[in-house]
Symmetry: C2
Subunit: 366 residues, 2 copies
């Protein structure tokens, strides 16, 4: 039985078109049934989500007559590595699963990335279903098909493009999400407003208090609008040849912060938040947005309880980490900057000195 | 400067169409130039090929003005694992390579599978070029896009479909190939005759002595005809939903032999050779081919200096290894068998007792 208030968004990717169901108290048995092709389902989750929701999904999938196995990984970005990926392969092979099986990711972005990548590689590709349990993964990982793992020399350096059969985004599961992680998810929501939708930015300014308080109806609306933006961009540019790079607003700076601090010290959304401030600051120095726009950007980020400055990081190290980022093409750094509020561009035409100033201006004193 | 006798075969895969250049003393600088897109080339090879041909390719690619880095792996199927795959990622990241780089596989099937899989996953996909240096990899791995690594519980269980930009198959490099490996390559050549081309079988019967002696013109013709067969099948069925499974003639039995003996004890082609005998034997017991056809199959395999029987393997273990093979769909074993000489079929309609007899009849006494 579908929730009364459930919204459905279709990601248009030709023969890999799939739906995202967004609502509260969704019924996984009914919603997943048409999308599980074979008889075997491997549910991949982490030790935190295992205690909260694993049995609910094991029961739902078992009730469909499927063989269910589970793989529970350690919880955290620092485990998004090749060794933990291999544990999923071990579980699939020990369960005797075949080319017709489904891997279901039950968790946040780390679980989605790892389970998705495993589903892309196991037997050269099996089916994949996503049940994102954090706001960040609901708005970010459930559209786009990017999966992968980290390497000691860089984030998400190893991976695949893999589209799911279906995504369930259940707002009820956000009740158990720590406030810090809810804020981290809001960073990506704000990103969609800043990069392409000035009206959405106004909506966020009107509703930020309710979002922070966990209002399920407001959160569902924020997830729907964010996913709709991403779905439109991804449909135009699935393999990130062009427009899709806009989604990396704040990410090149953010990756440098995350890499320097060590994966998992700051949440991804927190690093992206400060990264967006740096991008806005550079855009302001370039004369593309006003100082008022920069302050407005900082304000909405602060109201989401997100950091607008990072710890002091030596500039040379910050720049070295930025150049390891994937958004580097043939050694020429391209950044996502703001031409105006609600309109980002991909550009290498910026002043490098201004970039350094923007980085230093948004660090805490050492 | 292209060799006078060079033949070119195009693998028709729409926007992923690519050429295979087949000949002797090919000029890599001229032939590769149009197919290297970015500025960085990682040549992946093994310790054996490193001594013979690495410098030649480093020089050729450097002469094109590219940045060249190398990654030399241990030589052997037993190293086709996740740890050695990770060494390629280490090399790519330590060299600071970006999304626009090319991974060039210089070696046999193991190097092609690992370098190809690494190119599919590094930064979610970079460019890939193949220079297969064994007969087996020239006829088998250079068409089809199957890449991957082994897992302790099964061969090629983790991988991706990844098409190269171009393949260079140089017969001159077969002069340094050990005779046992030349024979292993001929197993796959014979496979194409048995599964789909009775005329090619006659040609092989006429020319087997010259092939075994390493005649470059005959070898080039055998590679061309084998690749043409495979290219036609793959173009029809890239992701192995149907017809492509025919290419696995002998492989389900062969995988069981390889798995039981331990990877690398028998060469892949040797296991496939005996596997094809078992498939022919079962086809004969089913009444589809005559006893004369079975003897003819064994004869051409023996003339290629390949084994027609494997060591004694307990039947239950043999069957357990067969069922780990990927050709198992929802627990129902499908085999590639011969409906007549030069015509294979994918079927689960065979007598299981006959299958057991065919396995046992082609084992050496314990």
């Amino acid at each position: 039985m579908a929730s009364e208030n459930m919204q459905t968004l279709h990601v248009e990717l030709g023969d890999r078109r799939y739906p995202i169901f967004i609502g509260s108290d969704l019924n996984p048995q009914t919603l997943l049934e048409p999308y599980i092709k074979g008889k075997q389902v491997m549910i991949v989750t982490n030790t935190t989500i295992e205690k909260l929701y694993l049995q609910h999904y094991v029961d739902a999938v078992s009730a469909l007559g499927k063989t269910v196995a589970t793989c529970v990984l350690d919880d955290g970005e620092k485990y998004k590595d090749i060794e933990h990926l291999n544990l999923i392969f071990d579980a699939l092979l020990e369960a005797g699963f075949n080319r017709d099986c489904t891997v279901l990711a039950l968790g946040g972005g780390v679980i989605g990335d790892m389970a998705g990548f495993a589903s892309a590689c196991f037997q050269r590709g099996v089916y994949f279903i996503q049940v994102p349990t954090t706001l960040l993964s609901q708005v970010d990982s459930s559209v786009g098909g990017k999966t992968g793992i980290n390497h000691p020399l860089g984030k998400n350096m190893i991976g695949a493009f893999k589209q799911p059969q279906v995504v369930l985004a259940d707002m009820s599961q956000l009740k158990t999400l720590p406030p810090r992680e809810l804020s981290a998810g809001l960073a990506e929501v704000i990103k969609y407003a800043l990069l392409g939708d000035a009206d959405f930015l106004v909506w966020l300014e009107q509703n930020m208090d309710g979002l922070i308080a966990g209002d399920a109806t407001l959160l569902a609306e924020a997830v729907y609008r964010s996913c709709a933006h991403k779905a439109r961009i991804v449909a135009n540019d699935e393999k990130e040849q062009g427009e899709r790079a806009l989604l990396n607003l704040g990410h090149t700076f953010g990756h440098a912060i995350e890499s320097y601090l060590g994966y998992g010290v700051w949440l991804h959304g927190e690093a992206v938040a400060t990264g967006m401030v740096m991008a806005a600051d550079l855009s302001c120095r370039m004369g593309w947005i006003s100082d008022e726009d920069l302050q407005r950007t900082k304000k909405i980020i602060q109201r989401a309880n997100l950091p607008v400055a990072c710890p002091a990081i030596p500039l040379d190290e910050f720049l070295a980490y930025m150049s390891h980022d994937k958004k580097v093409l043939n050694g020429q750094l391209r950044l996502i900057l703001m031409k105006k509020m609600g309109q980002a561009v991909i550009t290498k035409d910026f002043d490098v000195e201004f970039m350094k100033q923007a980085i230093l201006a948004n660090q805490l004193s050492a």
